[in-house]
């Protein structure tokens, strides 16, 4: 195999976006549709191979086709993550894989391993290559290197600050993408084999078991053996007391909702939300909030104000406590989770609207969690939220029900205001 990358003489034709692209995770077809419905400009998905979420349910080629069709009809893009650090055994077949993605009409692939960049350029020259954050690209010269290698977008390391991003933008003209919301590696992405060591699960091929978030104890090695002959048992000095929190390396989740002007002003092309394993409810809520915030700021920067309801909304879908990561400097102790339990979602996803009859004001809702008449629920779409009490509910054949008990059961009910398919109904968690 030739080891030179042929860089086609292809200029990026897309004009620089005024509004940054809002890029959302989509763990499956339903999440893809929901992310686009709630306002994502692009989604990233995983295929059956080469992605870093071996446990996500991931897309078959047929599902990708449907996803691309759905997204393109609505002006959105679909990227496929192929960001493993490959081993020899992973490489056969990769050219065919990229060719198929190109044929399906995928807009770009996210790649970390140069062997895969190379394979993609060779097999599918029309497929844009985005360099994954797994490469920990954190300086302008490395960005320039990858641009010269034919990469059209760099997903920057999570370790860069606002100032560093600004400098990179000044030095190199290439699309940049930054993470703005979600969980993050506390190590430099990819520079960790804790999972490989503890469980033989390769984190750089999608098997990460999050060993960094486990509990550890911190000790100091005592003086040398000789000095301790008479005092065995004191060789290690615990740096914690019985009642202390254990040592752990869990980062709070990134959330830049409070800093929209700062990140939009950077002029980076894409804002990424983490979470291909997250629920459809989470994706809908987070996309909706950032869509509104970005639109509000871009439309009228001078009068922009952070809306408290955005923060409230994010809490409804569940999130660890928030940090601004490295954007304003190196995170300290207050950016880590030492003892607090993971914050549970305040609301549960109860149903997905599949149909609405304007004449009768009756919605058909697919059950996703138990609900019943008399309960207070919240309906929300991309541009509205309203609360109502559930009145009578019927099954598909018009039989009245005392509760919606069965997953995916179709239930009819009267709604106070118009709703649209793919809007959601949620209820407060007990």
């Amino acid at each position: 195999m030739s080891s030179t990358i042929t860089v086609p003489d292809k200029k990026i034709v897309r004009p620089r976006l005024e509004k940054p692209e809002l890029l959302a995770p989509a763990g499956n077809l339903e999440k893809l549709k929901c992310a686009v419905h709630y306002g994502a400009d692009a989604v990233y998905i995983g295929g059956q191979q080469y992605g870093l979420r071996a446990n996500a349910d991931n897309f078959s080629f047929e599902e990708m086709e449907e996803g691309v069709r759905f997204a393109h009809e609505r002006g959105a893009k679909v990227f496929v993550a192929t960001n493993i650090i490959a081993h020899n055994e992973d490489l056969p077949g990769v050219h065919d894989y990229y060719r198929t993605l190109q044929d399906i009409g995928i807009d770009a692939v996210i790649v970390a391993d140069p062997a895969l960049i190379q394979a993609c350029r060779e097999a599918a020259p029309d497929l844009e290559v985005h360099l994954s954050t797994q490469t920990s690209t954190a300086n302008w010269q490395a960005v320039k290197f990858w641009k010269e290698e034919g990469v059209s977008r760099i997903v920057l390391a999570r370790e860069v600050s606002l100032e560093e991003i600004r400098q990179i933008k000044e030095h190199v003209d290439v699309e940049l993408e930054v993470f703005i919301h979600g969980a993050m590696c506390i190590s430099y992405s990819g520079r960790c084999v804790l999972s490989n060591h503890f469980t033989a699960r390769d984190s750089n091929r999608g098997g990460c078991c999050q060993s960094c978030r486990w509990k550890y104890d911190l000790f100091e090695e005592g003086p040398d053996e000789d000095a301790l002959q008479a005092n065995v048992g004191k060789r290690e000095i615990p740096l914690f007391n019985e009642q202390d929190d254990p040592f752990t390396m869990s980062s709070k989740d990134l959330s830049m909702i409070r800093h929209i002007p700062d990140i939009v002003d950077l002029g980076v092309e894409s804002f990424k939300i983490e979470g291909r394993m997250k629920s459809i409810h989470y994706v809908a809520t987070v996309v909706k909030v950032y869509r509104q915030a970005i639109d509000a700021y871009c439309e009228d920067p001078d009068n922009y104000e952070l809306k408290p309801e955005w923060i409230e909304e994010l809490k409804k879908s569940g999130h660890r406590s928030a940090t601004s990561g490295f954007f304003y400097g190196k995170p300290g102790h207050e950016d880590q989770l030492f003892h607090e339990a993971e914050e549970h979602a305040q609301y549960e996803f109860a149903g997905l609207v599949v149909d609405y009859d304007e004449q009768t004001g009756i919605a058909t809702v697919q059950q996703r969690n138990h609900f019943k008449p008399g309960q207070e629920v919240e309906f929300f779409g991309p541009d509205y939220t309203f609360v109502q009490t559930i009145d009578t509910i019927w099954d598909e054949d018009g039989n009245e029900l005392d509760a919606a008990r069965h997953p995916l059961q179709l239930v009819r009910m009267k709604v106070d205001r118009p709703v649209r398919p793919r809007d959601m109904m949620r209820k407060e968690s007990v």
Binding site: A86, Q141, A142, G190, K215, D217, L218, F219, E236, G332
Partner: protein
């Protein structure tokens, strides 16, 4: 059979002399800037002395410039690399593409080795870096023997494998120990360096002590065991691996020198008479086991492990 290079780290000039005397063909050191997890930091003056010394002894000197760079690190980089070039070092060990680019411009005559920090685990990627100017790959520690041998067969550049010592398991830019101590309300006693000899223990693995330390590159968590391949050299030598590395981070100079001696003996023995080597291999391993610091078992690391995902 080809004689592989025996490469050892050295924390300072004395240790450098010691490992060369013990039979090392090459020495891996870190400078004051840009070096990740080297046992010591040589000033430019010391690097010049070390380069002259290694040259005189017919040995080689490699300098680690393998940190992950941020913009501010780039300013001094061209001058630093030029100085290393003038000092006459034999190779630069890099992981950031910025170093590759700068070195190609400033010191095109000096070979470039890529560090395990670059996380490269397949032949195509190794050959990719070869085509961009690297002449040696220090293989990722998570590769197994089969992958290493296959890689060597197909690689267009030299292959280096760590055969002994501690391995890095985790690298964060954050100051995780300082953060924990701050969280606990400690405002004194904040030495979190390598010298403090801190370690962590996972709840369910009471027997394992993972060293942890901070420096200006962040936090490093190291392996609880030392890899030791002294009794498995035949496979590596038969495969024609170009360089075998002994990493002396967190070890005394005495330990490091003795380990280098043992590997020198083992390699020479195998090349002269493989049968003798096979007979003595377990004895050599026992020798090294006897030298192990308390609570640090020897292991074969990822060499014989299957990874799943």
């Amino acid at each position: 059979m080809k004689k592989p290079e025996l490469l050892a780290t050295a924390a300072d000039f004395d240790e450098l002399k010691g490992v060369i005397e013990a039979g090392a063909d090459a020495v891996h050191i870190g400078g004051e800037k840009y070096a990740l997890r080297t046992p010591g930091r040589f000033s430019m003056e010391e690097i010049r002395t070390a380069a002259a010394y290694t040259r005189e002894k017919g040995a080689k000197l490699y300098v680690a410039v393998n940190s992950l760079m941020h913009n501010e690190d780039l300013d001094g980089l061209p001058a630093y690399l030029s100085e290393l070039g003038e000092a006459g070092v034999d190779a630069i060990v890099f992981s950031d593409p910025a170093v590759l680019m700068t070195a190609r411009a400033e010191i095109p005559e000096i070979p470039l080795h890529f560090s395990t920090e670059i996380t490269t685990t397949n032949v195509a990627t190794i050959n990719y870096w070869a085509s961009r100017g690297a002449s040696r790959a220090d293989l990722a520690r998570e590769l197994n023997m089969e992958e290493i041998i296959e890689t060597k067969e197909q690689a267009n550049l030299e292959i280096q494998v760590q055969v002994h010592g501690i391995m890095c398991m985790f690298h964060s830019k954050r100051d995780l120990v300082t953060n924990y101590l701050t969280h606990r309300g400690e405002d004194r006693d904040r030495d979190t360096s390598l010298e403090r000899r801190l370690f962590i223990r996972e709840e369910k693995r009471e027997d394992y002590k993972y060293p942890i330390y901070e420096d200006d590159h962040g936090t490093h968590i190291m392996s609880a065991e030392d890899v030791c391949m002294i009794d498995h050299l035949s496979e590596l030598l038969d495969a024609g691996i170009d360089s075998l590395k002994v990493d002396g981070l967190m070890k005394s100079a005495d330990y490091q020198i003795n380990v280098v001696k043992a590997y020198r003996e083992a390699i020479d023995l195998y090349l002269e008479n493989p049968v003798d080597y096979e007979q003595q291999a377990s004895e050599l391993r026992q020798q090294l086991e006897a030298m192990q610091p308390d609570g640090r078992p020897l292991t074969t690391g990822f060499f014989f492990k299957e990874q799943i995902f």
